[in-house]
């Protein structure tokens, strides 16, 4: 007696492509990077030199006059916001059962993230501590008198 066994492999209807793999990879890469970026940021700002007393408008202006710190802060801004938003998205996926609620929350998250990234990037690159044409009492003390 012979028994015919059909090929057991069931063809799987492929679900829509997803970015979860890249999301996971991004979290793994940005996490360690952020540890370095943030702790260096904290040490440079709060510990080295005059320490916490050195922080004022002039200190920030001085840092952003240097392209190195511009890029540093830019990397911190982008990585932290995307890392954080993706983490929030994961939590939303866990706890928002209804598709509509889930979609609304996720869309809001990414919209806020994009807005903050946009504004932050704009500030880092267009920051001018002594804007021309500003009234004298608003200008910082180190600005050349106009």
């Amino acid at each position: 007696m012979s028994v015919t066994i059909e090929t057991p492999s069931r063809p799987r209807t492929r679900k829509q492509a997803n970015w979860e793999k890249y999301g996971w990879l991004f979290m793994r890469v940005s996490g360690p990077l952020l540890i370095v970026l943030i702790f260096t940021h904290l040490v440079v700002n709060l510990v080295l030199g005059d320490g916490i007393k050195a922080i004022d408008f002039a200190f920030v202006a001085g840092k952003w006059a240097d392209p190195f710190w511009q890029v540093w802060d830019l990397a911190m801004l982008w990585l932290a916001l995307i890392h954080g938003t993706n983490g929030m998205r994961t939590i939303v996926n866990d706890y928002a059962g209804q598709v509509k609620v889930r979609r609304a929350l996720t869309t809001t998250l990414w919209a806020v993230c994009a807005l903050l990234i946009l504004l932050g990037t704009l500030v880092i690159f267009t920051f001018d501590p002594c804007p021309a044409g500003a009234s004298a009492e608003l200008l910082a003390s180190f600005c050349p008198a106009q």
Partner: protein
Amino acid sequence: MAELSVPTIESFTVTLIVRRFDPENDTEPKWEDFDVEMYGTDRVLDALHKIKWEQDGSLTFRRSCAHGVCGSDAMRINGRNRLACKTLIKDLDISKPIYVEPIKGLPVEKDLIVDMTPFYKAYLEINPFLVATDKPNKERLQSPEDRARYDDTTKCILCAACTSSCPVFWTDGQYFGPAAIVNAHRFIFDSRDENAELRLDILNDKEGVWRCRTTFNCTEACPRGIEVTKAIAEVKQAILRGRA
């Protein structure tokens, strides 16, 4: 004639507080406590038997082999997923009541019995069988090293202790769950199997391995000591590499 002295075996009384649900009469589960006289060699399963046989015959739970092999009696004992047949009562804190609940994340049918269908469905989805196109006349040979590669995950008894301890699975039943991934791992890393790519593709799903948050609940819950979280991590790595 000398009197025959029979040493008495020490016994103790423990209170079991069991989460009960009768779908015909209850709208929601309730706790019920039972006092049972137990010995040092008794397990939680023996206590449940004693309750069912001597106190309340309506107490419902699954068990088959009663020796830690069939995987029928996974339940939440004192807040941890364990097999009732492998948990000695004397190893728990018997000065306090012992809480026994059904495993979480799967619909309760009655008392300690849950509907395992979603669990098995996820298991079936990963094609839990050897796929090989060759038709050998003898058994397929494998080196001890190749066999050792997936040895840990062959130990799974599908008791669902891991999957029902996973916080991601609790809130999102769509997640494949640790048990399905462990059983995929068992074939993905089997040198005789030819379908690793399909399984990796299946687990690259939105609800696949990437949902794992590495909380290690599954590793802690596994009554067989499988390093579940490690197995999931290996599957993640294999997906990133694109092969086993």
